[in-house]
Symmetry: C2
Subunit: 155 residues, 2 copies
Amino acid sequence: MGRRIINGVSITPLKEIPTNGGVVLHMLRADSPVFLSFGEIYFSEVKLGIIKGWKRHFEMSQNFAVPRGLIKFVLYDDRTDSPTCGLVQECILGRPDSYCLLSMPPLIWYSFACISKEEGLISNLASRMHCQVKSEQRALECPEIPYSWGEDNGI
Amino acid sequence: MGRRIINGVSITPLKEIPTNGGVVLHMLRADSPVFLSFGEIYFSEVKLGIIKGWKRHFEMSQNFAVPRGLIKFVLYDDRTDSPTCGLVQECILGRPDSYCLLSMPPLIWYSFACISKEEGLISNLASRMHCQVKSEQRALECPEIPYSWGEDNGI
């Protein structure tokens, strides 16, 4: 799996605080260096074997955490003015090994899939409220994005 | 279960949007009438049989949603200037029957328990960042709060 990180993307380890009745899982605080603004928070359930994407947002930044299950994200940078233009980045989020916040600026193409038996749950805190016309989608197998989701990708 | 609602508390049904790969679950948008400010978002896992509380925050408002499992919340109002002072309020949050946002002002005592076999997951969006000294706790069985968690309460 590639280790290079797309310009503007960050992966921040998050605190998991054990308590008697279950763990407390941090996600984002207003004083975090990656927090920009609050637009919306929502969740996506993802079943094993389902791949979602490709999608990108024109204006919204996104912050993803995975409190249940394991999700593999693949990101692609085709911003011509980016020092990492052309880079594909893979990362897996989930507990207990990778409970992290994936923060992503606008214009990054992304796709994701659940790679755990248990359904994955993605929490997405976006810097703006969702607006369908301010995003676009591409087919999973498209010539413009040099990545193929296949059996060798853990799905 | 009591139907009266404590002054300042609200329960708002949330959208569940089915998609091919799993459901999308709304929680809170910046233009919601119950949104005050963004302080922090975190999750609490709660195992069956565990009861947490009582606790209250002096300054922070909280917004709870339960994307996994079923959680029973009990709230108690002892604010002497409140028209519902003395009221105990119970509510159950979870899917598919009660995927709602429970919004609660400061100074309300609250406790909660998981009532599903599956671990419950509470998402809490607070209007301020968490500060231990700006909250207080009481024992579950305390003389000041007229509520007893017992076997007849679904636990």
